[in-house]
Each structure stands twice: as C-alpha cells, then as structure tokens.
C-alpha cells in the first residue's frame, strides 16, 4: 500500500516535470469518456483533456439511454458537467471521428487518444422476417422515446394492435415495457420526447410480452427495475407457475448470486400474488420463459409488416460462463488498444486507449465505467511513468488549438460546452411550459441553431 502511494506521487510529479503538458483527446462524452477525463485531470496535473462527441449534446447514453422516468439515474450529469467546466477540459460537440477529423490526425495532435464511443451496432438475430416493418431494435426504440436526433423518425406503429412483444428480459427490456404500459399522465411530466408522448397517448397497446430464452433464475434484469415494473398501477402480471420450477443447477446459481436469488423471489411472489385473470380493459404484462424466436411472420394484409412470431422452446444445459459474445469490441489489454485480434501483447498501439462499452462490450451499469476508466487510466499512467510514450511525450503537441484550427478550416460548427449550456437552458425553459423537467430538442437544425444563438 505504501508502494502504491509512492507510485501515485511519482506519476503526478512526472507530468509536472515534463516540459510539455500532456494533451489527451477522448472520443465520446458518455460516462466512459467523462470518468476517464475526470481521472486523467486528477492524476496528471497540467494535463489538458478534450472530449469530442459527434452529437451537439454531451453525456451519451445518460441522455439518450436512461429512461425518462428514471431522472435520479441522470444526476451523474451534474458531476460530469463539473468536469467539463474544469479549466483544463473542453467539450467539443458536433465533431465526428472519421468525418470531421480522422484518427490519424487526432494521434498527430494529441499525445494520447482514448476511444470511448460505445458499442452501437444492433445484434442481428439471424432469423427470417427480421427486416419486417414493426421489428425494432431496442436501440432505435429507446432513441425514439429519448429524443435522440437519429431516432425521431422511427414512427413505430402503436395504433393498429393491442400487443407488443419484447425479446429479452434485461433492464432495457423492462424500460421498453414500462414506457409502453405506464399511464401516459405519469410520462407527461418526464423528459420523454414529445413525439413519443403523443404516440403513446394514442397507443392501443394493452398487452406486452417479455420473452426470455432462459428461466426466471437467469433473468437479466435487476431488482429495482423489476420491482418498479411489477408495481405499475393497475397492471395485470402473468407468470406461468410451471416456469418457476427450480433445478439443482438453479439452486446453485441462486446460492452464489444475491441478485438472482432476489429476482427469483420477486418473480415467484408476483406469479401468485395477483388475480388469475385480468379485469376487462386492464393492461397486461406477461413474462414468457424458456422461449426463443424462430421466425417473424409477415402480415397477409400489409405486406412487409410483421404480424406475429413463432417461438421455440429452449432447454438449459449446464452452467457456463460468458453467456454472450461481445461484438464491436476493440481488442485491448487493460485498455491499451492492440493492433490486431491476435491478443499478442507486443502489438500494442502506442498512445491509443479504450474505455467503456467499446472496451468491454455493451454490459454493466453507469458505475461500471468508473472502474473501467480507473483501469484504462492506470494503464496510461503506467505507460507514461515507464517511458513507453516517451517518443510522443517528449514533443509538444498542438492539442486543442490544432484541432480547432483544422475544424475551422473544414467549416465544422463545433459546439463547445457553453453552447451546450444554451441548449440545456432552452430545453429546460421549454419544459417548464409543460410541467416537464425539459423538452428535448430533437433535430440537428434546432440543436445547432440554439447552440449558435446568443
């Protein structure tokens, strides 16, 4: 412990002894980006950190992923805005890697580049009918109700049927179920996008199915979210009691995991608690276990549209780790990016690091990025101390000034933090007119217009 303390002191003094301030560019302004920035600013006195994001608005999934009815989860934005307001930090919005500026150019301008732009691609299920209209990825649906500029035109059809099926039983699945089933009067006072609120007010969806491949013991959601969805006012919950049967393998899993034990308890209580039939007109939430999609069925009347789906039964075999394969992950060792997939530690790309979902796959909670950033910054600090980055750090880098010059030459309308604050203020103002915490601006034009205005 004393040694660790001494190493920390060494890293700090290294940065101040060096004649050239460490210039870092972080690509992506979600939790991974901001926790990384905060850690670097704290650990390396004199460092300058720029955070770029392709959107004019910062905060990544905290703004566009966290459900509108979970405002407390977004409180972390206050901490992130304090980081952005640090004199050694700059947020630069509307700057897209690969479009406004290239990675090669960034590595030329900065000593260190950290990629923290998430893991966006949708997973292809690979079954017939997946491309039928009405089949949506959670990403696009969540972007839609959260007012992401890329999601505003989704226009999901909520008026021609009373049933929605959600594949998955994790927290995002529960978010979607909740948004579809919650009384709209409750949603009307959140920061939900107004186009989504309007659609939900006209929605005829009354039955939602949450379909999981495994059983209640393996359900991927967590207790707070499950408790919340089970507690929606006047909602009929249906869980098949036979699905609640536990195997010895399940017993073992519950013994080792507090989360799974509590989830199972909540589900079994919900299965037996309520009435056995819904009352007329009551909204319904059905948990379906041990089923996976086999194909989506096309409508006879409306060609190109989904009208149903075929499920097949699953059986669970054995307990294995690594239940998912992470896609869209950049090969890395503790946050140091590798040149190729071989895992060969000598193929490390100097000065290039990764943090967040791009490093770990789309897993975990906001806080997971705190520890992820600690690991990546520890690798960076170690590399600085051991002189691994000496070839770049012994030279001055243009950093922010150089970047802004290039962007200006290319007529890129950079949105600095002060301009985001204008957007923030306007959204709050518009929200106050409707008893909402904010009314999100959802088009690029509106966002840039307000950002640019005085």
């Amino acid at each position: 412990m004393a040694i660790f303390g001494a190493r920390r002191v060494l890293w700090r003094s290294f940065s101040t002894i060096s004649s050239h301030p460490l210039r870092v560019c972080i690509v992506g302004s979600g939790p991974a980006g901001f926790y990384t920035a905060e850690k670097i600013l704290k650990t390396h006195q004199g460092s300058q950190v720029d955070i770029i994001d392709r959107l004019p608005t910062p905060y990544g999934l905290v703004r566009s992923g966290v459900a509108p009815d979970h405002p407390e989860t977004k409180n972390v934005i206050n901490q992130f805005s304090r980081v952005a307001q640090n004199g050694r930090c700059s947020f630069l919005g509307n700057v897209a890697l690969g479009y406004s500026i290239s990675l090669v150019e960034l590595r030329e301008l900065y000593h260190v580049v950290v990629l923290a732009y998430g893991a966006e691609s949708d997973r292809v299920v690979g079954i017939p009918g997946e491309d039928l209209k009405g089949v949506h990825s959670a990403r696009e649906f969540v972007w839609w109700y959260n007012g992401h500029p890329y999601g505003r035109n989704l226009d999901p059809d909520l008026k021609n049927t009373d049933t929605a099926v959600i594949l998955g039983q994790g927290n995002v699945a529960l978010d979607v179920a909740r948004i579809l089933l919650r009384p709209t009067s409750e949603l009307a006072i959140t920061d939900i996008a107004s186009h989504a609120l309007t659609a939900l007010e006209q929605s005829s969806i009354r039955k939602v199915y949450l379909v999981g491949r495994r059983g209640p013991v393996q359900a991927a959601c967590t207790a707070k979210e499950l408790r919340e969805v089970l507690g929606i006012k006047d909602l009929y919950i249906h869980i098949k009691e036979t699905d609640l049967k536990i195997t010895p393998a399940d017993e073992e899993e519950m013994k080792n995991s507090r989360i799974h034990r509590r989830i199972y308890e909540l589900l079994s209580k919900a299965a037996t608690a309520g009435p056995s039939q819904p009352s007329s007109g009551q909204r319904e939430l059905h948990f379906v276990f041990f089923r996976q999609p086999d194909r989506f069925l096309e409508s006879y009347d409306k060609k190109g549209y989904v009208s149903g789906m075929h499920l097949e039964k699953t059986t669970l075999k054995g307990i294995g780790s690594g239940k998912q394969i992470a896609i869209g992950v950049v090969p890395n060792v503790k946050g140091r990016i590798l040149s190729d997939n071989s895992g060969d530690p000598t193929s490390i790309e100097n000065g290039l690091y990764v943090c967040g979902w791009l490093k770990r796959g789309p897993t975990g909670i906001i806080a997971t990025n705190l520890y992820c950033a600690e690991e990546t910054v520890a690798s960076l600090s170690e590399d600085l101390e051991l002189g691994v980055l000496a070839s770049t750090t012994r030279l001055p880098k243009l950093g922010r000034d150089g970047l802004l010059q290039i962007l200006d030459n290319r007529n890129v309308r950079v949105v600095p933090f002060s301009a985001w604050e204008r957007i923030d203020k306007e959204e709050k103002r518009l929200g106050s007119l409707r008893n909402k915490p904010r009314e999100k601006l959802t088009s690029w034009e509106e966002l840039l217009k307000v950002a640019g205005s005085e």
């Binding site: 412990m1 660790f4 303390g5 905060e38 704290k42 006195q45 009815d69 979970h70 405002p71 407390e72 989860t73 977004k74 409180n75 972390v76 206050n78 901490q79 304090r82 640090n86 409750e186 006072i189 959140t190 991927a220 967590t222 207790a223 707070k224 408790r227 919340e228 507690g231 995991s257 507090r258 989360i259 799974h260 509590r262 780790s321 690594g322 239940k323 998912q324 394969i325 992470a326 896609i327 869209g328 992950v329 090969p331 890395n332 997939n341 770990r360 796959g361 897993t363 975990g364 909670i365 906001i366 806080a367 997971t368 705190l370 520890y371 992820c372 600690e374 690991e375 909402k436 915490p437």
Partner: protein, 174 residues
Amino acid sequence: MSRSRYTQRHCCQYQWSTLELLPETRAFQGSIFQKHHGFSTSASDGASAGADEEKGTIPVTFVSKDGEEIPIQVPIGMSMLEAAHENDIELEGACEGSLACSTCHVIVMDMEYYNKLEDPADEENDMLDLAFGLTETSRLGCQIVASPELDGIRLAIPAATRNFSVDGYVPKPH
C-alpha cells in the same frame, strides 16, 4: 485537485438523503430534485453547511482504498456521503444520494456498528445488489446518517474489483 470537484456541492443534499422515498413520489423526484439544484447553485457556499452546531458532531473514520485512515467530525443528521464530500474524501456519489446507484458503497468495519444501523430498505438492498466488492457489512454511504450511537464508526471505501460485470460476465474479445 479534488477540492475543485466539490466546491459546488448541493447545499441541501444531506437533508434529501434522509427524506423517505415512497414509490409513488419517485416519478416526481427528478423534478423536485432539479428545483433544489437550481436553489443550491444560486446560494453561496457559505449558506450551505446547514448543520446545527448546537446538535453536535460525532467522530467518524474513513479508510480509503489505499488503507489511509481519515478521521473526521460529522454533524448529527448528515449522511456519510455528504460528510465524505465535505472533507474531500474520495467517495463517489453518482446519483447524489437518491438511491439510484451503488457508487457510495462503504463497508462498516465493525459488526457492532453495523448492527446498530437500521436494516436497509428494499430500495437500498436493490442498489447493494449492484455494488462492487459487496460484503456482509456493506451499506450505501448516503443511507448512513450520523447519530450519537454511531460515535466512532469506521467506514472502509472498497477498492475496485478486477471483474467489472454486474453478473460476473466476462466478455470475449472479438
């Protein structure tokens, strides 16, 4: 360095952490909270302490991730999270005491003090489910409120564990 992080602490925060969170008020919590943010950021830091000097304080020792012991005085009625921030102790509080995260996770070092605390509510247990390095005597710092019987309590801030996943999942590189 860490001082600049906390100069804009929200003055009424510790009062909010003792506010009982009924499920039906949760939906309104965000807007209430934000109104308070507006209030506290316009008030000067001088007005922020709020604690009654007459009520007194209790000695509390925080043990940092590196094993460093940090003794502080905590006003009766203040949460341990707020107290940590007032003293520049590195305890995260992402959701600012609203039971929507697990980053203020602390370990009560003595069972005797752990037993003096009231059992965690469902809401706190739900968040503890997600805490990294959970132990038998883990609690959320925002839910431990200073009272005379906690005089001398020692709280350890857990070190981050290597596996970050909530459910033990380890991603395969592609």
